[in-house]
Subunit: 415 residues, 2 copies
């Protein structure tokens, strides 16, 4: 099956934003063996859109039109799609009711234009938006399918994953049986991981292996086509075994939605342990990541942000002479932050994060130099030196630090 992706938006064609929706969708389609061989970006101009959509609808069996579903005057996608495929627009009354209630709940004034966001292509069906107001559309005629999706990535991604992929999988499975499994690995060079995986799976035929770099992990997807379910499962098991045997130090779980923070919170809960932290360069990001997991209260009471040296002394009681002697960016300070935070809260596990987020250097250490301490009751305190200078930018260095802290904790918990 050939697909085309049409991305709509003046901000895209002017280069003001980078189009990440089309590659995300293309990767999803690839898992079903669908190639999106033609990907177009055009401004939100009615005439251009109608021409482009009409041409795509004529020549391809699957067309995606992405963006321009907002309530403002430059959101003209639905009208253009309807004209191009020769249908109208229908208001989803239930959704329109929900939009009105949502505005009322937020105590915000609603505009008449908001009704746009409750419309879908007549003769098709609406697609739910998990995080935003605008519906998507799924439309089929004469063996051709057209899908309308919202532009903001935070709305786009869940609609693709939750609404579009299950429908497409049904369509594709009438012809091809596809079984897949996702393995999750700590962040590291993708090329290295994939080369190693290629080497250990060289003699496994029938399993396609693709990788997808997330900000906090590398997801490796194993896909088997055209096999009965139990044959496919055995092939996937064999591939997983070979890969995990080789990559065990980096592997942390199976599943598309498997996140390291969730795995760590789950392990802490199972082992009946509580965690805290004292954070300098990460400034609360580690604790916030723990709190992003539903049920975090089972394993986390609170902790410290100790950005300045004075706060490390005042809130944690770290000896000023220790900091004086070793510097704030040191194994000793990271260890003390971990141990003192643990002690102050009276919990089982403490982490300390101290380092140079940049852009300036600190104590003669370049941006990216980070020490992480991990103190667990009844075990010797660990420290780790990280050099994240090659990850450009303050945010990348801080995120990388949080991920490394989670990795250290994960590896300690599975021992």
């Amino acid at each position: 099956m050939n697909a085309e992706i049409i991305s709509v938006g003046t901000e895209i064609v002017l280069g003001q934003i980078v189009n990440t929706n089309a590659p995300l969708l293309a990767r999803q389609l690839a898992t079903l063996g669908i190639a999106a061989d033609c990907q177009l970006a055009i401004p939100d101009r009615h005439d251009l859109m109608v021409d482009a959509i009409r041409a795509a609808w004529r020549r391809s069996s699957l067309v995606f039109v992405c963006g321009g579903l907002g309530p403002t005057a430059d959101d003209v996608t639905l009208a253009a799609v309807a004209e191009a495929v020769g249908t109208g627009l229908t208001v989803d009354q239930q959704h329109w009711q929900w939009i009105q209630e949502t505005f009322a709940e937020r105590h915000q004034a609603m505009m008449p234009e908001n009704i746009q966001q409750a419309k879908y292509l007549t003769g098709g069906s609406p697609l739910k938006n998990a995080v935003g107001l605008a519906l998507g559309s799924w439309y089929e005629r004469d063996g051709h399918r057209l899908v309308v999706l919202p532009g903001p990535p935070r709305e786009f991604k869940p609609m693709v994953v939750q609404e579009v992929m299950p429908r497409l999988t049904k369509v594709v499975r009438q012809h091809v049986q596809i079984t897949s499994r996702t393995l999750n690995f700590f962040s590291r060079p993708e090329s290295q991981l994939m080369n190693e995986i290629a080497a250990v799976t060289a003699d496994l035929t029938g399993v396609t292996i693709t990788s997808y770099v997330q900000p906090d992990a590398i997801q490796v997807r194993l896909t088997v086509r055209d096999q009965l379910q139990d044959v496919a499962s055995k092939l996937l098991d064999a591939a997983q075994d070979a890969i995990v045997k080789k990559e065990e130090p980096f592997f942390f779980g199976v599943g598309d939605d498997c996140r390291l923070a969730n795995v760590v919170v789950d392990l802490l809960r199972k082992r009946n342990l509580r965690v805290t932290a004292a954070e300098s360069l990460t400034g609360g990001m580690f604790q916030s990541t723990i709190c992003s997991v539903p049920g975090a209260s089972n394993v986390f009471d609170g902790g410290f942000v100790t950005y300045a040296a004075a706060a490390k002394e005042q809130l944690l009681g770290i000896d000023p002479q220790l900091i004086e002697k070793h510097g704030v960016v040191s194994a000793e300070t990271a260890a003390q932050m971990a141990e003192k935070s643990r002690g102050k809260l009276g919990v089982d596990v403490g982490l300390g994060f101290t380092g140079v987020a940049g852009p300036d250097s600190l104590e003669g250490q370049p941006a990216g130099t980070v020490w992480i301490g991990l103190a667990i009751a009844g075990r010797p305190t660990q420290t780790r030196l990280c050099r994240f200078g090659a990850y450009r930018g303050r945010q990348a260095i801080r995120q990388r630090s949080v991920q490394t802290g989670l990795q250290m904790l994960y590896r300690a918990l599975i021992k």
Copy 2:
């Protein structure tokens, strides 16, 4: 002048890499008033490429073909372009000599295929590659221009800036250009903001106004085309004045990169104030956001994550009876968290965040119920009740809380 950009590469259409070349080129073209109204990505398949390039060459006066200039078998761009426009390929002997010398210097084995990288379109002229081996091509005929550029961004960008833009600038009339300015507003319904803006700018002709919803702001872009710089500036000033006059309570700054956290940190620094926080549902996200700003150490020493009620008592010294009486999700608790954190750190400003991130309710309050406290030395403590239940998901509720805290602080600081 209308341009089209054709990006070639299987890794692009499979979504394995995000296409940053096209937006970079589009931004450069926009400065010359050239709109790249059609941007296509296709795999490196000869037939698809010839069709796409031929169609673009017929309908547009300026066509860019990017990627596929390497020495390997799947680098078929030059041959496809030559066929599509009906010309041949010429070897730049001087460049070919240089490639051979370069390989010798690197003690690397050269492949016969490397001669591909010394070729350009016959009848056109080669474009220098500042960092890589492959030449680009500039080709003109019958008032149409076609430019071939390499795919790797580190080669692409210098060739666009150093080779293409000077040539294009000569072609394009000097005075035609696009001037734009971005205004930033607190998150709120986009439709409402844009309707209000439309009303106050109705009599301003020549300014195009578009909006783009960011996770933490609404960016409104004002664009003027085809005007001399000083005329454009006056038009933008007039539009900005009218909009900010109406939207002053929501406006927080000018510029593509203007973020509320940066504005707040800058205001604190100018007023010589230091900030802290005690965070429950946000779990450190407010402090982490402050620390995301370079130079945060000028205004922030540290603070508290007090997720459990016990931590609020232990770390901040909040009276258990106060929590008992009013609940953790209450104005009183939020105010105490703000005041006590400020007092403990001995700084000027404290914020308290307490509420229900969900998915479960707490103390009979539904997910999304949030109280934020703001304590500033010498002023009465403020509290604000937010009902974010309509923002779906734990992360959205927490992010919204952080943004609202920043807004409260911003408004207090500009008073």
